[in-house]
Amino acid sequence: MKAPTFSKGGVHPDDKKSLSREQKIEVLPLPSELLVSLSQHLGAPAKATKAKGDTVIRGEKIGVASGFISADVHSPVSGVIVDIKAVTLANSVSCDAYVIKPDAEQPAWPTEKTDWHMQSGEELLAEIKDYGIVGMGGATFPAQVKLSIPKDKDVNVLVVNGVECEPYLTADYRMMLEHGAEALEGAMIAAKIIRARRVIVGIELNKPDCIAYLKGIVSQNNLPIEIVGLKMKYPQGDEKQLLKATINREIPSGKLPLDVGAVVCNVGTCNAIYQAIVFHRPLVERIVSVTGECIAHPKNILAPIGTKTSDLIAFCGGFRSEPEKLISGGPMMGFAFFSQDTPICKGTSGILALPPQKPIRQTPCLNCGKCVAACPIGLEPARMYRYITAGDYALAMANDLMDCKECGCCSFSCPAHLPLVQAMKTGKKMGRKKK
């Protein structure tokens, strides 16, 4: 049988995962200073509950959610809050962050297992909220919001996202290979909360060992989980494309997976849920792929949230050659940032150091239609570009500009090198302002 994928658009960037795919997850030695931001999730920043000079304990709550769409923040280490100052995150968001100086001795995490099967969905959901779990694929949507199903919705499928379609990144790949059983149990917990009747794990075929390994676990433990190998195509890791590929349902414009009876959850999030429910560990550390042609020894690192980029790069042996860009996330949708003091957040799946590229030569739009063929949503980016550069944001909005999710397929394939995604981002901002 042919491996499924989504049908409309998509591109095939060079996957570059070989740089770090063989590197086992390594634990980062404790950095000398952490910058724990209060805005590590989609939605309102958390409210600080500690002040300068306070001592904190590893796993202690140091920020509380300040709205429905918001998440709690915990301290990754025991130590002293040296300062609270404004920092700029990789995605250019400015927010307050704790500067924490860790103690030399750190308390160990509890290793006692809790049996979650006896707990009700509501209790589990409350714990997930309490441990500050957010979507770890990059969008960092608070998990308790995603898993709270409104009474009038019938959700029957949980799709676990193990696609990792962005080039370079191998964090989810390593996690599935080394903590696959935990992640699958986390998926079962999530499935219990949303009362899903089917659990599907979607993994791209460039990770055959993952697929085989997880299938082995499933059959050994007789888990009600389907592991599906998907034909490689970017952006399959987007929930719209993933649902189309796995269960052939299309989310209409402006709707959520809920509206087609499904919830999509990243494998990293499933693992975080497992750690929270079974070991009562809040989300204070994550696996980061530090890779790219300019990194001396690319690695997959388990690092506390708030670790500065410079510490990660130093752990990888520094730069092999001078990078042109540092990117948080993947090369298709990640954010380029300028300071190595930038800390990692709950959603940072990778830090890439990319070499200088050939200078691009922009030409006028050729109307070639490559962007139209690449757009997974079926928009006409070239036309949208014309509207936006002419300042007609209303017309762009009328042509479904808001459906664009900035996946980068259009810019990637544009032979004229037009800054299409940039225009879309501008158009959305200006369009919203005008409304």
Binding site: P13, D14, P167, K240, K244, E250, I251, P252, S253, S310, G318, F319, R320, S321, E322, P323, E324, K325, L326, I327, P331, M332, M333, G334, F335, A336, F337, F338, Q340, L352, L354, Q357, I360, R361, T363, P364, C365, L366, N367, C368, G369, V372, A373, I377, G378, L379, E380, A382, R383, D403, E406, G408, S411, F412, S413, P415, A416, H417, P419, V421
Partner: protein, 366 residues
């Protein structure tokens, strides 16, 4: 190693497909080269001269325009070279050299740059140039030369009577007078054919004229004669994803189907008895379908629109060839469809992801 490098901040994506405007233009030029070389081989040095003059004029005028308009130079993108090459390939090898000069000038200066240069032209520049000189110097543009393989077959007396004719122009003068298919007409007029084509034709039970036209042993424009080499070039472009199959397939397919259905009617054979292969391999159909109709700027942006565009090109080609005054119809058909392109783009849109196609309400049966 420097630990604090100076970093660039830019919008995602940070990676790009290995394809830009100039690669595309040069790829198309390369794909055209075998057919152009075949033209030079068949028609001699004169053909090379015509090609060189066309390309030279196009490139030079592009350069001068950008200089005069104080624009950044654009020669590197290869579009002017491609325009010149296409203009040259659309010339008869015997034209006076001022004709390709005029055609290239018209293509670059009028069709391309009066509308703002690359990406802004409403018609394919090379086609615009060709049609401009075609209607200005019709007789010179429709006087052709037989390729060397056919000239050898003719005795001196016949060279004059036949040298000016491609199969299409020859048929145009003859169809009115008799009732038979185009291949029969060519045979009855002793249109020359190679021995190779005769044997292949016999083996496959097809007209030897079709075989000759397919391999390029016919009179015609420099670049249009070898259907085989054009087809190969076109396949290379499709495989390298420079163009998609939509326009060539719908264009050529429409010509084939319309000729099959209606093409035999003039010869009194009724519907569904037309000759299919001969119309496909004659004239500039393959050159037009693979290399000129697929010009990005002047064809629709969606695949659905491209199918409609190709169908329109094929439809007009069939109409003009069979009912128009002139033998060649491909370039005019493409120009006509170039004009319709914005309209196609306006009304033919892709289905958006998640959009429900509205089911038309079933009308109650009376």
């Amino acid at each position: 190693m420097n630990t604090q490098p100076i970093l660039t901040v830019s919008t995602s994506p940070h990676t790009h497909a290995k394809c830009d405007t100039s690669t595309i233009m040069w790829m198309v030029s390369i794909a055209l080269t075998p057919s152009a070389l075949w033209g030079v081989y068949s028609f001699g040095f004169r053909a090379l001269l015509v090609l060189a003059v066309s390309i030279g004029t196009a490139v030079l005028s592009e350069y001068l325009v950008t200089q005069l308009a104080r624009k950044s130079p654009t020669l590197w993108d290869g579009s002017a070279f491609l325009t010149g090459l296409l203009v040259g390939m659309n010339m008869s090898p015997r034209v006076a050299l001022f004709i390709p000069v005029l055609a290239s000038l018209f293509a670059i200066l009028v069709v391309k740059w009066t509308f703002g240069g690359l990406g802004a032209n409403w018609a394919n520049p090379a086609l615009g140039g060709r049609v401009f000189v075609f209607f200005s110097f019709t007789s010179a543009m429709s006087t052709f030369q037989l390729p060397r393989c056919l000239q050898r077959l003719l005795d001196a007396s016949m060279v004059d009577s036949l040298s000016g004719a491609t199969p299409l122009t020859y048929l145009k003068t003859r169809t009115a007078e008799s009732l038979s298919t185009s291949s029969q007409l060519l045979a009855s007029g002793n249109y020359p054919v190679t021995g190779f084509a005769q044997s292949v034709g016999q083996a496959l039970h097809i007209s030897p004229y079709t075989v000759d036209s397919f391999f390029g042993n016919v009179g015609g424009c420099i670049g249009e004669v070898s259907t085989l080499l054009l087809l190969l070039g076109g396949i290379v472009l499709i495989l390298s994803k420079v163009i998609t199959w939509h326009i060539p397939v719908s264009f050529i397919g429409t010509v084939a189907i319309l000729n099959w259905i209606f093409g035999g009617m003039k010869a009194g054979l009724g519907v569904f008895h037309g000759e299919i292969l001969m119309p496909l391999v004659s004239g500039g159909l393959f050159l037009g379908a693979f290399f000129m109709a697929t010009d990005y700027v002047t064809s629709p942006i969606t695949h659905k629109g491209q199918l409609v565009f190709g169908f329109g090109c094929g439809f007009f080609t069939f109409l003009l060839r069979n009912f128009g005054a002139l033998p060649e119809a491909v370039s005019v058909s493409i120009l006509l469809m170039n004009i319709v392109t914005p309209t196609i783009d306006r009304y033919i849109k892709n289905r958006k992801f998640g959009e429900v196609v509205k089911q038309p309400k079933k009308e109650a049966k009376a």
